[in-house]
């Protein structure tokens, strides 16, 4: 399925999806609370069948935090990028997709570890790279550690 057909299919599933221009993959932005439903629908859909989450990224935009999902269909061999944002920097929380894509379990733990984004309904949300006693989330733009970090 090419990107134009994919676009139409996505719009029929979620009319509020916003598409980005001039990107490598077809990129859409959706409201953060829709991600679980949306992922479930595009995975179970017979016509697009996005069954493979090949990358899951956390991002700090400065004023807001985001999560980026790279999805692929092993059946039709097309890709899509789904972005969600949350402006809550104190207690950011989005729904987990690890009941849909098992691989998200570790990826979401990593994002929780480094960005502090909580994933609702995650079975085992704890730090994965840093040790348990670590304070703060080091990949955030406002992370300060005067002891270890030499700023430049």
């Amino acid at each position: 399925m090419n990107n134009e057909e994919l676009k139409q299919t996505i719009l029929s599933i979620l009319p509020s999806a916003v598409f980005e221009e001039n990107t490598q993959f077809l990129t859409i932005q959706i409201p953060a609370d829709q991600i679980h439903d949306f992922a479930k629908k595009i995975k179970e859909s017979e016509t697009i069948s996005f069954d493979y989450l090949f990358c899951l990224t956390g991002i700090d935009y400065g004023d807001s935090l985001g999560v980026i999902y790279h999805l692929r269909s092993t059946k039709y061999r097309h890709e899509i990028v789904v972005k969600i944002k949350t402006s809550d920097r104190e207690t950011p929380a989005v729904d987990t997709v690890c009941d849909i894509y098992k691989t998200a379990e570790f990826h979401e733990r990593e994002i929780f570890d480094l960005f502090g984004i909580k994933f609702n309904h995650h079975p085992d949300l704890r730090r994965i790279l840093l040790d348990e006693s670590w304070e703060g989330h080091p990949l955030r733009k406002d992370y300060i550690d005067e002891v270890n970090i030499v700023e430049r």
């Binding site: 270890n148 970090i149 030499v150 700023e151």
Partner: protein, 188 residues
């Protein structure tokens, strides 16, 4: 393909230590001779620990493998156990999480033990010096280092050169004098 070291003559590797030894042992020809024999043995059978944390490890493996083959110089087999190793080549980035493991490995090695800091990460943190929350900025914050081998990563020739510097260092040591001193202090 022979490895040639341009900056140092072959003779220099053998020459100066004799004089140093002579001074150190107050010119006792007997102990210097025995030291010479001991040091000859020790410096030519330095066994490194199988320890590598990143790309420097690949160069270290290349230095040990057939093409560069540092067993020629007596840096023999890699030992998988720190109990059997004489030198630990810190090849790669040491993170805060790796630091306790490295310290334990160093503590488990038996005396006399030596450390080579290989590559810019082990020397100073290298590319991770600035703006990093997780990297130890130089392995000498943790364990004493004998030889620094710069590079990112250093070529096997560089490691060979560093190892030969370590051998020079071992040859300049006075094993007997150390033992004598130890006995004197314990008796007192």
């Amino acid at each position: 393909m022979g490895v040639k070291i341009k900056s140092m003559k072959d003779a220099d590797f053998k020459d100066n230590e004799t004089l140093e030894l002579f001074k150190e042992t107050d010119g006792n020809i007997f102990t210097t001779t025995i030291d010479n024999i001991l040091n000859w043995g020790r410096s030519n059978s330095v066994w490194p620990l199988t320890f590598a944390t990143s790309c420097c490890g690949i160069e270290m493996m290349a230095a040990g493998a057939a093409r560069h083959d540092f067993a020629r110089f007596g840096i023999e087999v890699y030992r998988a156990s720190p109990r059997q190793a004489d030198v630990i080549v810190v090849a790669g980035t040491i993170t805060n999480k790796m630091a306790p493991v490295l310290k334990r490995l160093y503590d488990q090695m038996s005396e006399p033990k030596y450390v080579i800091a290989m590559g810019s990460c082990a020397i100073s943190g290298g590319p991770f010096f600035y703006n990093s929350y997780s990297v130890i900025k130089g392995v000498d914050h943790l364990i004493p280092v004998d030889v620094y081998v710069p590079g990112c990563p250093p070529r096997p020739e560089s490691l060979l050169y560093g190892v030969m510097q370590l051998q020079r260092k071992i040859k300049a040591e006075s094993f007997l004098k150390k033992q004598f001193k130890k006995n004197v202090t314990t008796n007192e």
